[in-house]
C-alpha cells in the first residue's frame, strides 16, 4: 500500500524532492567554495534565501498536501481505491504518512543546511543585521530559521490535505490553503508568539536601549508615567516625553527632565536568549494543529460519500 501511495503521487513528489535537494546542493557547494561573494551578490543571496525560507514551508507543504486526496476525488479514482480491501482509514493514514515523510525529511535537511551554511560563509555585517542569519527572535529572523520551518511545512501539508478532502479540487485546496496558512501565521506571530515566553521589561530615564537589545524582539516601547509598565486606560504609549522636547541636548538633561515630569522609558521585549523557548512553543502549536487537521482529514475521508 505504501508503494501505491508513492507510485500514484510519484511525479509531484519527485519534483518537490529534486527541488529541495537541488537547493541543498547549491548551499553545500556555496559553503565549500572559497571565493567570497561581493556585497551585491550577498544582498541578492540574502533576499533570495529569506524569501525562500519564508515561503518554502507553505509551498512545499501545500504542493504535497493539496493533491493527496483531492486528485483521487477529482478523477473519481477514489471509487477504485475505496472499493478495494484496504480500508479507507488505512489508505488515508498511509497516504498521510508518505506525504509527511516527503515534506519532513527534506525540509528538516534544508533548515539544518541553511543554518550551517550561514555559519560557514563569511557574511558581511551589514547584511546580518535584519537578516535571518543571527538566529534572532524578531520576525523574519525568527521564522526563517530553526524547527518552526518544519512545523510550518507540516501545518501547510495538513491544511492542504484537509481542504483537498473537502473541496475535491487540488488547485482550490492549494489556493485556499495558502490563504489560511498566511492568515494563521500572521495571527500566531502577532497574538500568540509574544506570550510563549514571559517577556522581559527594561525601564530607564533616557530612552536608549542598552547594547545587546538590538537582537531582541521589542514588543512595546515608549514613555509612561513613572511606576507604570503599561499605559493607563484611555492613554497610549508615548513615543517621546512631550514635556521634554527642549531637554534633548544629552542623556543627562533628558533624564533630569523625565525625573521632574514623572515619566520613564519602558521597553517590553523578548530577548535573544528566549530563541529556543519561542521556537519550541511555536513548533509545538503548529505540529499539534497539524496532527488535529490530519485526524480531521482522515475523518472526512472515512465518512465521505463516494
Amino acid at each position: 500500500m505504501t508503494w501505491v501511495a508513492w507510485r500514484v503521487h510519484r511525479g509531484l513528489l519527485l519534483v518537490v524532492l529534486v527541488g529541495l535537494v537541488a537547493s541543498c546542493t547549491f548551499l553545500a557547494i556555496d559553503a565549500a567554495s572559497s571565493t567570497p561573494h561581493v556585497l551585491d551578490e550577498w544582498r541578492t543571496i540574502s533576499y533570495l534565501s529569506v524569501a525562500g525560507m519564508l515561503t518554502l514551508p507553505c509551498l512545499v507543504g501545500l504542493a504535497v498536501g493539496a493533491p493527496l486526496v483531492a486528485t483521487d476525488l477529482q478523477h473519481a479514482t477514489h471509487r477504485l481505491v475505496w472499493s478495494q480491501d484496504v480500508t479507507r482509514l488505512r489508505w488515508a493514514l498511509i497516504k498521510l504518512a508518505v506525504g509527511t515523510a516527503v515534506v519532513l525529511a527534506p525540509m528538516a535537511g534544508l533548515t539544518l543546511l541553511v543554518g550551517w551554511w550561514a555559519t560557514r560563509v563569511p557574511i558581511p555585517h551589514s547584511i546580518v543585521v535584519g537578516g535571518f542569519y543571527g538566529r534572532g527572535v524578531a520576525p523574519v529572523a525568527f521564522d526563517t530559521t530553526g524547527p518552526v520551518i518544519v512545523a510550518y511545512a507540516l501545518f501547510a501539508f495538513a491544511i492542504g490535505a484537509l481542504l483537498g478532502a473537502v473541496v475535491a479540487r487540488p488547485g482550490w485546496a492549494f489556493a485556499l490553503g495558502a490563504a489560511v496558512v498566511t492568515v494563521v501565521r500572521v495571527l500566531v506571530q502577532t497574538a500568540v508568539r509574544p506570550h510563549l515566553a514571559t517577556p522581559e521589561v527594561l525601564s530607564n530615564l533616557t530612552g536608549s536601549a542598552p547594547v545587546g537589545l538590538g537582537s531582541a524582539w521589542i514588543l512595546r516601547e515608549g514613555w509612561l508615567p513613572t511606576g507604570r509598565l503599561s499605559p493607563a486606560a484611555g492613554s497610549t504609549w508615548s513615543p517621546f516625553p512631550d514635556q521634554c522636547l527642549s531637554a534633548t541636548q544629552s542623556d543627562a538633561t533628558l533624564a533630569r527632565c523625565a525625573l521632574r515630569t514623572h515619566v520613564h522609558f519602558v521597553a517590553i521585549f523578548q530577548p535573544a536568549s528566549h530563541y529556543w523557548a519561542l521556537q519550541a512553543g511555536e513548533s509545538a502549536i503548529f505540529v499539534g494543529a497539524s496532527v488535529l487537521l490530519a485526524a480531521l482529514s482522515v475523518l472526512v475521508v472515512v465518512r465521505r460519500s463516494a
Binding site: R7, V8, A76, T77, H78, R79, L80, R303, S305
Partner: protein, 296 residues
C-alpha cells in the same frame, strides 16, 4: 443467499435516491439492474460496494470465503472505469495486489494476455474497451463472491460485449460469483441474466428470477371496446385506433376472455414497467410530489 438487501434507503438533498429497496440473490445469480436514468441504479451499487452509507436499511454479503474477510468478497466496477492513467497496466495489477487480501495474479495476467493487452502500456493510452477490460480484470482477480458492475457494456463494441459476457459467465461457473450489473441495453440482458431488478424513481418495482417474473405477467391484446380485466393489475396500456394492448400482473391460471393472451418477452416486460413509471412520475409531478432523484 449471497446478498440480502432489506429496506435500503438513501436521500440526497431531501429527495429519495433510493427508497426501501429489498431483494435477495442466491449464489451464481446474474441479476440485471434496469431502470431509467436517475432511477438510483448507481446509488444502489455504490451502497453495496461500501462507497456510500445508506440512510436506512441494511445489506449483508454472507457465506464468507475461507480465510477471507468481509470486504474481500465484493468487487465493484464503476461506470467511469476509474484507473490511474499514468500507471502502466502491470503497475495497475500491482496496485490491485497491494490493496487486496486475495489476489490471483495468474488469472489477471492470463486474462489480459488473452485480450492482447500489453502490460507495459500506460493505462492512459488504452482504448475505451481495453480500459474497461483492465478495470474488469482488477475485479475478477479478487475472486469476488459478489461482483457489482455499473454499466459494464457502455462504450464497448458488439464483439467486446460478447467477450465480456463470456468472461462473466466463466467467472460465475468457476467461482460461483453472484453478479449484479446495471444496463440500458435490454436486448442483451435476456441472453445471460437470470434475475431482474427493476428500479424506477428510487423504488424497486420488480425483483426476482426472470422466468418467474415472466410467468406472472400476461400481454393482452384486444379491441378498444373489450371490458378491462378485473382479476389482474394493469401495468401498462397502449392503445392504437382499434386495438388495445395491456401488460398485466396476474395469476398464471387466470383466463382472460375476449383477450388474446401471451407471455411477454423480457424486453416487453421491462418497457411496460418503465412506461408505467414514467406515467406515475407525470402524475406525481402534477401533484407536486416527486419520487425520483438524481443518482449522484
Amino acid at each position: 443467499m449471497v446478498l440480502t438487501v432489506s429496506g435500503l434507503s438513501k436521500r440526497y438533498r431531501g429527495r429519495w435516491a433510493l427508497q426501501h429497496c429489498s431483494f435477495e440473490l442466491s449464489p451464481g445469480a446474474i441479476a440485471a439492474l434496469v431502470g431509467p436514468n436517475g432511477a438510483g441504479k448507481s446509488t444502489l451499487l455504490r451502497i453495496l460496494a461500501g462507497l456510500i452509507r445508506p440512510d436506512a436499511g441494511n445489506f449483508a454479503v454472507t457465506g464468507a470465503a475461507p480465510g477471507g474477510t468481509r470486504s474481500s468478497q465484493v468487487a465493484y466496477l464503476d461506470q467511469d472505469r476509474p484507473l490511474y492513467g499514468n500507471l502502466s497496466v502491470s503497475e495497475t495489477l500491482r496496485l490491485g495486489r497491494a490493496m487486496n487480501h486475495d489476489w490471483d495474479q495468474r488469472r489477471a495476467v492470463e486474462h489480459l494476455e488473452r485480450l492482447g493487452i500489453d502490460q507495459h502500456q500506460k493505462v492512459g493510452t488504452l482504448s475505451g474497451g481495453q480500459r474497461a477490460e483492465v478495470a474488469l480484470t482488477l475485479c475478477l482477480a479478487k475472486h469476488p463472491r459478489l461482483l457489482l458492475l455499473d454499466e459494464p457494456f457502455a462504450g464497448l463494441d458488439p464483439l467486446a460485449r460478447g467477450d465480456l459476457a463470456r468472461v462473466l459467465l466463466q467467472s460465475v461457473v468457476e467461482d460461483g460469483t453472484t453478479v449484479v450489473l446495471s444496463s440500458h441495453v435490454v436486448a442483451e440482458l435476456a441472453d445471460f441474466c437470470d434475475h431482474l431488478l427493476l428500479l424506477t424513481g428510487g423504488k424497486m418495482r420488480l425483483a426476482g428470477e426472470i422466468d418467474r417474473l415472466l410467468a406472472r405477467h400476461r400481454l393482452l391484446v384486444g379491441s378498444v371496446s373489450s371490458p378491462l380485466p378485473t382479476r389482474a393489475r394493469i401495468v401498462s396500456r397502449t392503445a392504437s385506433s382499434r386495438q388495445l394492448t395491456l401488460l398485466v400482473d396476474a395469476d398464471p391460471l387466470v383466463c382472460f376472455q375476449g383477450w388474446e393472451a401471451a407471455m411477454p418477452s423480457l424486453g416487453e416486460l421491462i418497457i411496460a414497467y418503465l412506461r408505467d413509471a414514467a406515467a406515475c412520475s407525470d402524475e406525481h409531478r402534477a401533484g407536486a410530489l416527486s419520487g425520483s432523484a438524481e443518482a449522484r
